[in-house]
Symmetry: C2
Subunit: 451 residues, 2 copies
């Protein structure tokens, strides 16, 4: 009898709770879409501060600005966390061309982050095209020595999720220089990680791992196509590039943190964040100004609605995702050392595009608990909730048992702008940005009320 | 025994069929994403032809161009269908301003399609702001007579689907002039149907239905905001606008049709289409160049893959969706008269944005048959498949028993460009456009193989 009663009551209680949740989630979206401030905040970050590579003046200003914004919203605590970051600078504008029929064909180029400079007068050598490391190895020292290696394998356009296409091509950028140096190459140029054909070179991090330290740079997809065509008819084409980037001493910097303290379980923390640093070429709008401003907006929205979280909700703007991940690793180290109890960490670092869902890193139970939110979130276009990838900055928190959650916007346009000078405020749609913020706020609300 | 065997075999057969479908759908996406031509075709339509309002030279060129493109693809039949269309012209550039503290404040303005001209010297009158027809009625003739009525109810930003927000505001544009004329207004200006605050006036159709025929125009959202603020402090503000649009005699035009003839049931037709006309202010990229070029791409893709459809697959580029729907109504009338058997009609007329799903108009069985495709289509981001709205041009086909299906891309950015001069080729993302085309091709393939 009791069991039967329980079985009758349970669905009613659940439906009631779901209705309450559904009503509150609607309030979240209404607040963010009608009164959201993320877009205006992003404008300041992009237009008044602009590029903010770790160690730069821009990065410092971004720390000060976002701290000030969070203080103005009256969060319970706003503070900085010390982080020591690498400090790489591009130096003066790079130059590149190749010679075709006696004429210079100029090439849009950008040194890869972490690369060494060329000699002061630049580097001129025969260029040889390869598609992958296997082909490089097969050509070997005999064919490679003394040459500039041109990695030209495009991102695969048939991948529906463009991050998969990125994953299938980015080894050329990250490891191409070290691989080529093993066979005596004197420099490396890499086709930009971009699915479009255009004139923007896309920078990004590279690393030296054995072999010599030879200069490495990205060239635009249009230039890569033209160079490749030229090499078919002129296999001994000479390529020239000059760059004077350098790695300076590590610099002091900060993660920027704000929080609303939990009313019932203040020691349990839910993190929502993005990374504050950007590459030096652009305003870092989609990468990752949007993630930072969405994260602040999550807390602003919950506070504006008078919501008193049970757990502590913490915004973290991580420093140095692009070329070191020192913000993410430092944050996790401190959390571990202080024995902080991080339940969930959500990151937005895939652009400020229209929401698609969340990717979860956790055990089956944890993943199932989140996929159970689907009926509440799908009316907002969040259909893709399940096992997936989280976020670079929050990844290190996994060692503390935290469930890692990546906000997943639509991926189609991301690599049009990624790490290039056209990653500007103008490419961000206000509603798409706000829907992302509201989606994260809705998830934070649901997680705060779980168990 | 037989029945049991059937029950054992049936799921196996279904799984096998699903696997075959899944493999072919992947081929469709691969072809369109790697070798698609919709983007290049759209560039020609937008950049070499441009605006193509019914009756204009642009519309005529667009008919010739798209016929030529389909002929070049070697479809089984390519032909024109006669359509008589309204012919409205904007005339020379409109002008508008209001007077504040003795100064002219210029206002970006665009006559609404179908509106009459102002007098040659323009119209100057006191302006009065209203939010809706109820408020207009309450003010009545005493407050309205001799004035310009300013309809300023914004699209509701809290609607997740922006077409809902459009539906909730567009009565002001369509019927505002007639409503205001009843109370003696001398002109009407309407806040643009746009969720952003910017400087683009968005035109669109209006109709006179009783009352006098007074001139009507859209003003930009920024101007609407400024005018509204001004009216709070200066309630007797004078507004001036001048427009010399006119309605000419109806003109001859065409629907453009191409088809691959069915190999098993050629008399059964599946239509896929968009509308070829656009408003005169812009290139008509998202409205609806993308829908036309996606529809052609559906047939190009199926043909490139060597697919022999069982039914006849027909592309229709409808003329005159924007200000008359003569293409859609004529097409349906002819189909009915000829007793053509149209099974399904799919239209893309919500922009070339990342795909979300399909909206279906049909009975429960028909809707259920399509929602059953979800497992095959959701890997491509098509989650929202169910009862919904179809498309203006294919709507009239419902009378012949056709299932009406609207392709549903993400709606967030559509009204940034809709009917305004910024609806240009540059705002279209190649991959999003192609994913839409592939989504429609996949659905056509599944429908062709249904039953």
């Amino acid at each position: 009898m009791l069991k039967a009663l329980f079985l009758v009551l349970l669905p009613t209680v659940m439906v009631f709770a779901q209705n309450q949740d559904s009503i509150f989630i609607k309030k979240i979206y209404d607040e963010t879409l009608a009164k959201g401030e993320a877009y205006d905040n992003l404008r300041v970050l992009c237009k008044s501060i602009g590029p903010r590579l770790s160690g730069s003046t821009g990065a410092k200003k971004a720390v000060e600005y976002t701290k000030k914004v969070m203080e103005s919203y009256g969060f319970d605590k706003v503070f900085l966390q010390d982080v020591t970051v690498p400090h790489w600078t591009r130096g003066s504008k790079e130059e590149a061309y190749f010679i075709k029929d006696g004429k210079k064909i100029n090439v849009p180029i950008a040194a890869l982050g972490g690369s060494v400079a060329s000699s002061k007068s630049g580097l001129m050598a025969e260029v040889i095209e390869v598609q992958n490391f296997k082909e490089l190895k097969d050509l070997g020292e005999q064919k490679i020595k003394g040459k500039i290696v041109f990695f030209n394998r495009p991102m695969d356009p048939t991948k529906i999720n463009t991050f998969e296409a990125y994953g299938g091509a980015v080894d050329q950028r990250g490891g191409g220089a070290s691989q080529a140096a093993q066979y005596g190459a004197v420099g490396v140029i890499v086709r930009s990680m971009n699915l479009r054909n255009d004139d923007f070179p896309h920078t990004g991090s590279m690393r030296y791992a054995g072999g010599g330290m030879i200069p490495a740079a990205a060239i635009s997809t249009n230039a890569a196509n033209e160079l490749s065509r030229t090499l078919k008819s002129h296999p001994r084409t000479q390529f020239y590039f000059k760059q004077n980037c350098q790695t300076l001493a590590d610099a002091p910097s900060h993660n920027v943190i704000g929080e609303i303290i939990g009313s019932e379980k203040p020691e349990e923390i839910i993190v929502v964040g993005g990374h504050l640093d950007s590459w030096d070429l652009a305003e870092g709008a989609h990468d990752d100004g949007t993630g930072c401003m969405q994260s602040i907006e999550v807390l602003r929205t919950l506070k504006a609605l008078g919501y008193k979280p049970k757990r502590t909700i913490r915004v973290v703007m991580f420093m140095n995702e692009e070329n070191g991940l020192k913000g993410g690793t430092t944050y996790a180290d401190v959390a571990e050392k202080k024995k902080e109890k991080h339940l969930y960490a959500i990151e937005s670092d895939s652009g400020g595009f229209t929401p698609r869902g969340f990717g979860i890193v956790g055990n089956d139970n944890q993943v199932n608990a989140l996929t159970a939110f689907k009926p509440l979130l799908s009316p907002y276009g969040l259909h893709e909730i399940g096992r997936g990838s989280g976020g670079a900055d929050i990844g290190p928190l996994a060692k503390t048992g935290t469930v890692i959650i990546g906000f997943k916007p639509d991926s189609q346009r991301y690599f049009d702008y990624h790490h290039a000078s056209n990653d500007t405020f103008e490419t961000v749609n206000k509603r798409e940005l706000e829907l992302g913020a509201a989606s994260m706020a809705a998830l934070v609300y649901l997680l705060d009320n779980l168990n």
